[in-house]
Symmetry: C2
Subunit: 397 residues, 2 copies
């Protein structure tokens, strides 16, 4: 609702272990690309929204640190956090600033430098991403442990196998191999995944997204400015948001990712789409594959597959290009990487470039419907954001 | 711009050292009050924006933890941070959600439980609120140390005295003595302040805001809903935002608080107000008195006094009720307390209740113009937010 909002510029830093760059330098890799693509300068930006989780960083005021380096001190700015969905939350906040008329041109920067802390610290911090007091402190569950609960419940009820989970990793690595910005731009075999060591049974190393440093940026514009700046704006057609209990133990069913379901229902309602056949309306999608099981649960919550049949989609290669709906053509969190504050903004970069048909040809989705879906989860389903991108300007009531 | 946004409910927890309450319980103290005052239930809320800095808390996902306790799991939510201006940033984000038409009813919750960590940890964390890499790590400046740089520069150039600084503390404690929610609801004498120990010369213990736990909440509504819910809505008339360099050493002049100046100019431009006579347009104001010198610098940046004459305002008691413009009638950060994520939301609670003439009579400003100004700084001028509250619905272009 409100004024239509377009993406008019995108930029992304190389994802990986980026000990070569400070948080400000990493952010700038993405920012300068987004500004250049939009054809605007720092002074033209009305507001900056930064997506950054921090916790492992020595710079608690990441927003002003990166703005100073980017030559943008003085600009209105705040930071947004929604765990692993932080980047999508930042897009939502900047979207609203433009939709309301408070701003005409906004810069969204997602950045995370997770490898600044030693891995055990990062693992502990992410393990707290739920309810620390009850579940982490009392039961010592780590983040892979939480997702392993989903995986075991799913495998038990629906007879999915560890191979099915690994097939998600194989697909996402396949597409990452064509994405030079990916943390792991290389293919893996099903055997490699199956033979990798267990992190939390049944999840193995190759079922898990890596600890990634990265940054992504987009420039959002009002309709008036978008028309001046570009001949090919990509519009934010709808956003759906939801949350769920902080304690996993308070969720009635590990087989339904409720936050994703509710966020999808809210987004689809705005678009007049039935969830059960949502896949008919999108040329491609990104779903939040922090672990392979998460991608399968997302298929079902978003309506790409019936409940309990998500694993068949990947078994039948229906989420490759040419299938029912191609998913995670940039490599996903699994292989592109998951710099948590940047992930949702990195999805935005991917969706704009896919819809404009300018990604590497091996991973370019056929663009027919001109519409795509990005699904970004925070924590283990504590937050979910659905962002729908479109080549057509949204119809407003 | 966009649709008018009203505050229709306010709630605030007792500020202080709140080891009796978890972060969720503390937030609920404020939330239940705001919902009750608005006459709405949890299910009626479209979106929640949480202002919380964290860092000292064991719960990194504070938003979902407090939503679960408040019976609101499932709701769209994200967290916002802008250092000590976090609460005002949360109000800005929720404002835009309603102004854009994306939401009709929003809950803003500001909460901070700073005493969860030992004081030296809190002091170190706050000391990093600038540029850690260059200034904290290399020079070891603490947060009071940064503000002491402002104070020494100011005293040197304008011949203000330590007594002038203490006069700010005396005023704010005076008003806090009538505010039962204040951390320090008691008067102090000029002698008490002058005899308190130095923290960072010339700033003494009584020049400094305390380490406070607290929470505040407001319910924001669209015009249509506001009219249904209340006969006395208070409108958010304008918001002005700015930032400044993360390194203080990159700011050209310690005597001008640039972020405050720029934020004020942006807000006043929307209102058609001249900065030099801004005080004529407001019944009262809150300014960000993290340290007493900050209140004096704010007077000048906001146009309440000429450059270099801010200290005279407090010397002449012009910021008491009956003076030029009453400031910090709730006790300010200095004596009401400064639970950093809650502070800006706590200001909103105060402004709504003052404009509705329902605070304790000893600290009630005469309401004539029906308009008030809240000024909230993040870091040592890294962020500034000006929020203007009004009894009259804003005129929109």
């Amino acid at each position: 609702m409100g004024r239509p909002v377009a993406v008019v510029g995108t930029g992304i830093a190389k994802y990986g272990v980026r000990n070569d760059a400070s948080i400000a330098e990493l952010a700038w890799e993405a920012i300068h690309g987004a500004l250049a693509e939009a054809g605007v300068e720092q002074k033209d930006i009305d507001i900056v929204v930064v997506g950054n989780v921090g916790g492992w960083s020595s710079e608690p005021l990441s927003s002003v640190v990166l703005l100073e380096y980017a030559g943008m001190s003085g600009k209105p700015v705040y930071r947004v956090e929604a765990a692993c969905a932080t980047g999508s939350a930042a897009i939502k906040a900047a979207h609203d600033a433009i939709a309301s008329g408070e701003a005409d041109l906004a810069l969204v920067v997602g950045v995370e430098r997770m490898n600044e802390s030693p891995t055990p610290i990062v693992v502990e911090f992410i393990g707290r991403a739920g309810n620390y007091f009850w579940e982490f402190e009392n039961f010592g569950l780590t983040f892979p442990g939480y997702y392993a609960l989903y995986a075991t419940a799913y495998m038990d009820k629906y007879r999915a196998t560890e191979e099915d989970l690994c097939r998600v990793a194989v697909k996402n690595h396949y597409y990452a191999s064509f994405n030079p910005k990916a943390h792991f731009p290389r293919k893996i075999s099903l055997e490699q995944c199956m033979q990798s060591r267990y992190i939390a049974w049944p999840l193995k190393l190759f079922d898990s997204s890596p600890i990634t440093d990265g940054a992504a940026a987009v420039v959002l514009a009002s309709e008036e400015l978008a028309k001046k700046l570009t001949d090919s704006p990509v519009w934010i057609e709808a956003i759906g948001m939801a949350s769920d209990t902080s304690n996993l133990s308070k969720r009635p069913d590990f087989l339904v990712h409720r936050a994703s379901l509710w966020a999808a229902e809210r987004a689809f309602k705005k678009l007049g789409i039935e969830r059960e056949e949502s896949y008919k309306h999108f040329d491609f999608a990104n779903v939040h594959d922090a672990f392979t099981i998460a991608e399968i649960l997302a298929y079902e919550a978003l309506g790409f597959a019936k409940w309990g049949e998500g694993y068949k989609l990947v078994r039948e290669e229906q989420t490759y290009i040419g299938g029912l709906i191609p998913v995670n053509l940039d490599g996903g969190l699994k292989a592109k990487g998951h710099p948590i504050g940047a992930t949702g903004v990195g999805m935005a970069v991917e969706h704009v470039r896919q819809l404009q048909q300018r990604v590497e040809k091996e991973r370019q989705a056929p663009i027919v419907k001109g519409r795509s879906l990005a699904h970004n989860v925070g924590g283990t389903g504590h937050y979910a954001f659905i962002t729908v991108y479109s080549l057509e300007k949204p119809r407003r009531p």
